[in-house]
Amino acid sequence: MDETAQRLLGSADRLSRDPETEIDWDAPVGDGYGLSPEWSTLYGTSYWDELSVDQRRELTRHESASVATTGIWFEMILQQLILRDIYDKPPRTAEFQWALTEIADECRHSIMFARATAKLVEPAYRPRLLARELGRMFKTVATGESAYAAILVAEEVLDVMQRDWMRDRRVAPLVRTVNHIHVVEESRHMVFAREETRERLASAGRGRRWVSALVIAIAADMIVSSMVSPQVYANVGLDVDRAVREARRNEHHRSLLRTSCANLMDFLGSVGLLTPAAARVYRRTGLL
């Protein structure tokens, strides 16, 4: 573990990014999409076909802001999970120092997302109450592999979307840069989370593995289903019931999500966290 942490610290040394100075926060956002249209929850539905180009662009900007808000929410959970985990670890170790580096990264990212969403759209988004309350509990009690694998799930799902958006010229330059900053630093975080998950599971018996697998799957469900708030549709002036209904049945979006989560699912399978019970949850969520 210390070797990995040492390497990650070295990597952070080679390249850490400072959104404060790298992004011109005073520049106008322009009129690009908020995310790749194909990633819109309505893309491919009949509702999408009825929308004008302006409405579609507006919709993606709100969706992007909602997803970023979910990111902030989860980054706050994550900072607490890590802080609790290293609370009594020896500060001189690379693992300890890396953990704090990661918290610092997350802290900067949350500020960056917060500012970017404020520039992108007027209304502020928040994850729904149930997610917020479950998150509150999770960040207080989760430990070991449950904590780190849940971190990984959140990071990977976000990561794959952001890789698409940052490369997409139709997306607003601000969003592209913000996403790249996140992708670069998150790649180190995911390496760390995988390593921690593997290490914690090494000593886990079957019972604990089964419980952890289920907890992680439920956390994943909570994260994925919180990404785009129904409020988004209301704010863009759409029929919320219809939009929610069509989004929920949107096979295009589900297949994008499945493809994006393929590496994640493979990792969970390789460490024995894809138990039949967990797999059922992932299928329902649309990740498997």
């Binding site: 194909e38 790249h180 390496v191 295009h252 590496n263």
Partner: protein
């Protein structure tokens, strides 16, 4: 320090998709992808995040301080002639590509659980919500990775673990020990992907070839494929291997391995005994053309040279015309000595005789025709357009039976993805490029 990719890389490009700095090339779609065996990391832009190593299914991407020095310099050399790509300029990245859903197939049969069949299954499970039935006539997944890839490359074989996980997907039905015919008769499939490979050895077409060993038989025997036997005796002190690809190099490496090396590999005791008793001291590798045309990869050659201690000789511009090595009949003896004046072995067109006790031919593989599908016997493949079998709607091909016997394990991933894309878009809207 940076990371480096070793010769064990099967170029499935998993790492390309996770590198945050666009440091790994050639990526799919770029010139050079799928021709060599390995990908490379640009040390000028790599930031050591380790994401590539984490995702690599065969542990080919490693930190430079844990890689062989040759690997580090091979990686650097690949980029020597080009400017570093600025990852910060996001327009230097390939734009994303999307496939648009429009109702996929319900039930798909995939025939063959080699790399192509496994990647096709995975892609179908990801892109569609179809139920995928996967069959193989063998009892295990892996195809040539299990029964072809040399046993001294255990890292490469690790990809089998990934394949096995695919068979456990809730929408996958894995039927080992079954052939396509047994299931197809019953019908009920919207589409069939034939990924049956191409494992039959090409023939030299020379006198005496019947008493030579083909690469197919040799690797199957070494890897313990059920029912595989060595068709000839292995006789030293010299063996000729005809062929200039990585398979020929694999065979040569195994032939000159001493007992200690063999013990470190996952090979059956019987294989070890036969190799040990063969008295082989030397291997001559024969190429029809010059080293510049050789099909082996640089890293495979380096590996062979490093381990063989000068016991493997490479001979180029040589065309064999007759093999008299194993044939103990007086007439063959006379033919051989009449031609060259002495002994048994492999006769070349210039009249030279390489005396040898065993001949192994490793000049490539070709596919067998599939019942009910057209076949291009010159190329040994099923004629297809981006994976769709010509004139047989609902039938698709992937892997070596589609492209011919070329390319490493990972190349079958892009190949299978193309096939599944064709399959799925024949039942739905077109593919949309990102921007």
């Amino acid at each position: 320090m940076t990371f480096a990719i070793s010769g064990e890389c099967c170029s499935d490009a998993s790492c390309v998709a996770v590198c945050p700095m666009n440091s790994i090339h050639p990526s799919p779609g770029e010139a050079g992808f799928g021709t060599g065996v390995s990908l490379f990391i640009d040390p000028r832009t790599c930031i050591d995040c380790g994401a590539c190593a984490d995702i690599c299914p065969v542990d080919a991407a490693k930190p430079a301080d844990r890689s062989a020095a040759e690997d580090v310099s091979r990686n650097a050399a690949y980029f020597a002639g080009s400017d570093p790509l600025a990852a910060m300029d996001l327009d230097t990245w390939e734009p994303p590509e999307y496939q648009v859903w429009g109702g996929g197939p319900r039930r798909v049969l995939v025939v063959g659980a080699g790399p192509a069949g496994m990647y096709a299954t995975r892609e179908l499970l990801l892109r569609t919500d179809a139920e995928v039935t996967l069959v193989d006539r063998l009892a295990e997944v892996g195809g040539l990775v299990r029964f072809g890839v040399a046993p001294d490359h255990p890292q490469t074989k690790q990809i089998i673990d990934t394949f096995e996980r695919i068979t456990r997907h809730p929408r996958a039905r894995w039927r080992p020990g079954t052939t396509a015919e047994e299931l197809l008769g019953r019908g009920g499939f919207d589409a069939v992907v034939h990924a049956v490979g191409a494992r039959r050895s090409r023939r030299l077409g020379i006198v005496g070839e019947d008493s030579a060993c083909t690469a197919e038989d040799f690797v199957a025997w070494c890897n313990g494929r059920p029912g595989a036997v060595l068709p000839v005796e292995l006789n030293g002190p010299r063996v000729v291997v005809v062929g200039n690809g990585n398979v020929a190099l694999d065979v040569a490496r195994l032939l000159v391995s001493d007992d200690e090396r063999l013990r470190s590999m996952d090979v059956a005791a019987g294989v070890r005994r036969v190799l040990g008793a063969s008295g082989i001291r030397e291997v001559v590798l024969l190429g029809r053309r010059g080293p510049e045309d050789a099909a082996y990869t640089e890293s495979a050659l380096q590996e062979l040279q490093a381990m063989s201690g000068g016991r493997v000789t490479l001979k180029y511009h040589a065309t064999p015309v007759a093999w008299t090595g194993a044939d103990r009949t007086p007439s063959a003896d006379r033919a051989a000595s009449g031609a060259s004046g002495a002994g048994r072995g492999l006769l070349l067109d210039g009249g030279e005789l390489i005396s040898a006790g065993t001949l192994v031919t490793a000049i490539g593989f070709e596919g067998d025709p599939i019942d009910g599908l057209p076949f291009d016997s010159a190329r040994g493949t099923v004629p297809n357009v981006r994976g769709a079998v010509v004139g047989r709607p609902g039938h698709y091909v992937a892997g070596w039976i589609k492209r011919g016997a070329r390319g490493g394990i990972g190349v079958n991933k892009a190949c299978a993805q193309e096939t599944v894309q064709t399959l799925v878009s024949s039942s739905r809207g077109a593919v949309s490029p990102g921007s």
